[in-house]
Amino acid sequence: MSWALTTDQLTKDYRVGFWRPRPYRALDSLTLQVGAGEVFGFLGPNGAGKTTTLKLLMQLVFPTSGRAEILGRPVGDLTVKRRLGYLPENPYFYDYLTAEELLSYFAALLGYPPDERKKRAARLLDEVGIAGERRLPLRRFSKGMLQRVGIAQALLNEPEIVVFDEPMSGLDPLGRRDVRALILRLRDRGCTVLFSSHVLSDAEALCSRVAILAGGRLIASGDLTEMLAFRARGYELVVAGVDEAVIARAAPDARCVRIGPSRYTLELPLDPPPDRLLGALTAAGGHIVSLNPVRGTLEDFFVERVRSAGVGEGRASVWEAQR
């Protein structure tokens, strides 16, 4: 598998304070790879270094040490930027331009000829669902609408790789669903998607691989399912049409909760597999409403890993205070 993006011991120190600057290590020796065509999640609490990493990749800040490559070329290479799309966190654009003008302007910077620019702008605004507001000045846009404009400008050049910093931020549930669908569409087109988020459910829904940062360090990375598999706890069974006595006989160890008339939830262990129990309950006249494996969520995994890395709220708030 070819790598769309790699970093090698990428480190960023900031000097904090005016009179006696102390170095603050925002990112410590980050080494990771993102495969072509993947959807890669970049997770971590606030202040973990996610945005710093993405800015290093976009050459908005310069690394103290270490390297990074995108599509095989060092970061900052202009030919690569032409094949790349970037959405910054909480994007802000120019108040006095309309959405259409902004996209045309960016299209010009991307090198498209004048007749092409407006067409692209219109198409992308349509794709993110704000075609109706394209002649409105950006100062009248809500946060969610600005987020959509941000996504639109990132996709102007039909990029091979997109980097989204908190793409769901500021969106309502409908908006989030739209963005999720968009990311999946991008994946289907063969685009590599790297996005950072502190909302884990999005990562669970979209990513094939993730990296978890905390306190500027990489504390876990890899396949999502592998990370979660180790935490599979058991099953949750919802059954109807039987009474408690039947359940007590069939699964004496299970914890049983009544959730309605003749409707119960059972928590079953991983072992033994529940097939036999299912058979017994059905035979007794009940019917199975649902059977779901109970896995540790990414959240449990995340919290446990972050705590064990010794990073808590204290560090994060120091970083926030200095911004």
Binding site: M58, Y94, Y105, A108
Partner: protein
Amino acid sequence: MKATAAIAVNVFRESVRDKVLYNLVLFAILLIGASYLIGQLTAGQDVKIIKDLGLTATRVFGLFIAVFIGIGLVSKEVERRSVYSLLAKPIHRYHVVLGKFAGLALTLLVNVAVMGVALYAVLAYMGWNVDADVQRAWGAPALDPAIGKAVALIFVELLLTTAIALFFSTFSTPILSAAFTFGLFIVGHFSADLRNFDQVLDSPGAVFLARGLYWVLPNLAQFDVTEQVVHGQPVPAGYVAIAVAYAALYIAMLLVIATAVFSRRDFK
């Protein structure tokens, strides 16, 4: 250079939408009102006063535009974070600096050109209205082509001021940039005093310092030919050419440093 042009056009668009060009209305009112008033009050001095007023107002209005837009050119982008999506595009950082400069230069060009035309219009009206005998007493004709030279030099001076403001904008906050730029503008007009310090200072160290400052700080007084033009004294083409060359070199220096500073900045 397409990127530079696109950025420049955007700066111009911002100035227009910020209603900067409305200052032209104020200028027109000022000129017309003054010419009417002065026509009532003085005898024969009219044209000189209108020329003085027109040229000075062109310079002063232009100065405010150059400074107040110039100091925000880069710092506003950085502060509002719009610089992130801008620099993610396939452009070099120097495109941004040059583009911003070109954009404000374009705004100033429009401003100064319109003011020049307005001034000529008022002068034409005076020339048409006033007796030929009175006109003979004027130091210079109403429709003097030399005024065009004066206006051109004002434009060049404004370009230099813009470069100064932009230079500060790449690393300093707007308030400091404004203070420094205005300060340098004033010092630049008094540079002749720096030069003459050796006539009144004793210490050779102080004289050396004053002389050194004179050569390094921008000399803006050379762009002010209002006195000559108004009194009909010639402004040689050679003088204009040299002044322009000086401005070009100094602007180049400021842009080189501004680009270097901007290219290394971390945008946190």
